[in-house]
């Protein structure tokens, strides 16, 4: 259990949120031209990083808005939170 700072609502308990997995996976621009390998990469393959990972979260029991988070998966420490469409922090 940890606290999450929703960029729209402020700090709330993690149980109000739903994790949406790895962030910045770009939807293919030309889906019809994708090979099976490229589909597999897009749909299934994940970095699943132990350490600092970029991910999407949804404040599902609050404002229901999506946002991005940088989190250390080895100890669940949240490094940064930023809105959808914003550039990920570099540090």
């Amino acid at each position: 259990m940890f606290l999450i700072y929703c960029p729209f609502c402020g700090e709330r308990e993690q149980s109000e949120f739903k994790a949406g997995g790895e962030a910045h996976i770009v939807r293919p621009k030309q889906p019809t031209e994708l090979s099976d390998d490229e589909w597999a990469e897009y749909l299934f393959m994940r970095k699943n990083i132990k350490g600092v990972q970029f991910e999407r979260w949804n404040h599902i029991h609050g404002c229901r808005k999506w946002f991005n988070m940088v989190r250390d998966t080895s100890n669940d420490e949240i490094k940064a939170v930023y809105k959808m469409g914003e550039k990920p922090p570099t540090k």
Binding site: G21, R46, D76
Partner: protein, 417 residues
């Protein structure tokens, strides 16, 4: 086996107050080179080494383990063994394991306390009833013992379940697999370690893998905290850390690692002599030989390697347990912990070769790997030794995520994720 455990050994050692029992396995310094290196000294990894030595005559094998053997998910799971999975491929895989479980204590000369006390899976709504009936039929076509029980039959088999129609999620029925049950999880790791050690396998603990050395598309060895180990074949059985090892070799896997929690109560007199699982309300419970209730909770939905889960997951499970078993309302929970499980998108494992020659993965067991330990070890050993999968694990290759030939076992996996 040189130092067989027997009644005579027990008597002999009684004379020296049990202070001179031989070590079950050695603590060797790693050699410069091995024929095969297994990364991960949990049940699956140790079983793999055991069957490589026993069935494939491989003599020069090392199992390297970051912590101590059986200290990961092997020592953290809720020890349930069953094979009532839906699809033919899964039925073959898990039933193969169950067949080995039945003779495992004799095979290892080590009591793994395999107890075929039966496993019930409960239905709480009409869709559950339909799904479980379908699964029962599918099981029986695959030669797996399964019966469907109505509410009264569930109550008869496990009298402490609250079958009142007035509860929020009433018990409408359930499936029963009588050959299913539990085993002592630590004993499984220790038994396989002892057996493998006896056949010359080096079990190297406190040895962390730092890198995989490869030359183009062939593996050359493993960089570890105890130095470089040369090898032509690497079998990775690292559960929650599979992606970390894959990353070292430049591979990506279709896995997400998440915390799965379990808890045990204070020990009490025998009260539940079977295993009851409920997918819909997410509660499953059995009683250990020590008398503790062993309760499995769910996974969190975020990736984490912290071996800690959220409190609300435990709370949800205990709510369901209390509604189904009001008799437990004043029990106190003694311990609660988390393990990191590697979950595949189709809730089925990967036992497979990879695009890199000599690199094999056995992963993706998610929330239910313990039950498959012997079968997984046997089939992974076959895959490594022959560089080809056994027919029972052919469907569980990594290419299924490219071909789309998934084995969707979300219904039978019991822990919803």
């Amino acid at each position: 086996m040189k130092n067989k455990y027997s009644i005579f050994a027990l008597i002999k050692n009684a004379f020296s107050y049990h202070e001179n029992w031989q070590k079950a396995w050695k603590d060797p310094v790693p050699k410069k080179e091995y024929e095969t290196v297994i990364i991960g000294g949990g049940g699956h990894g140790l079983a793999t080494a055991f069957y490589l030595a026993k069935k494939h005559n491989m003599k020069n094998i090392a199992v390297i383990e970051k912590g101590w053997i059986g200290g990961g998910n092997t020592g953290r799971n809720t020890t349930i063994i069953r094979s009532n999975y839906l699809w033919d491929a899964s039925a073959g895989l898990y039933n193969h394991a169950l067949n080995i479980w039945e003779g495992l204590s004799q095979e290892l000369n080590y009591n793994v306390m395999f107890s075929q006390r039966g496993v019930i899976n409960l239905a709480h709504n009409l869709q559950d009833v339909r799904d479980l009936k379908r699964r029962t039929h599918a099981n029986r076509l695959n030669g797996i013992d399964a019966v469907y029980l109505n509410t009264d039959e569930v109550k008869k088999f496990c009298p402490i379940i609250n079958t009142s129609p007035d509860i929020r999620y009433p018990v409408l029925g359930g499936t029963l697999q009588k050959r299913a049950g539990t085993a002592r999880h630590d004993a499984v790791a220790w038994g396989y370690a002892r057996g493998a050690n006896e056949m010359g396998v080096d079990i190297i603990q406190n040895c962390e893998v730092k890198g995989i050395k490869r030359n183009a598309d062939t593996v050359e060895g493993v960089e570890t905290s105890k130095g470089f180990i040369k090898t032509k074949k690497i079998g990775v059985v690292a559960a929650g850390h599979s992606s970390v090892i894959a990353n070292m070799a430049g591979l990506k896997l279709p896995l997400e690692s998440k915390p799965l929690q379990a808890l045990v109560s204070e020990p009490v007199k025998p009260i539940i002599d079977t295993v009851v699982m409920s997918n819909a309300v997410h509660a499953y419970v059995s009683q250990s030989d020590k008398g503790e209730l062993v309760i499995g909770a769910g996974t969190d939905d975020y990736v984490s390697y912290s071996q800690k889960g959220s409190h609300d997951i435990v709370e949800g499970t205990l709510n369901a347990i209390l509604e189904l078993y009001p008799i437990f309302s004043r029990m106190r929970m003694l311990r609660q912990w988390g393990g990191i499980v590697d979950i595949c998108p189709d809730a089925s494992p990967i036992i497979s070769k990879t695009s890199i020659k000599g690199l094999y993965f056995n992963c993706g067991w998610g929330t239910g790997g313990f039950k498959a330990t012997p079968g997984s070890g046997d089939l992974f050993a076959h895959t490594i030794a022959n560089d080809e999968p056994h027919k029972l694990n052919a469907a569980f290759n990594i290419n299924r995520f490219v071909s789309g030939d998934l084995v969707d076992e979300h219904g039978a996996a019991a822990v919803a994720h």
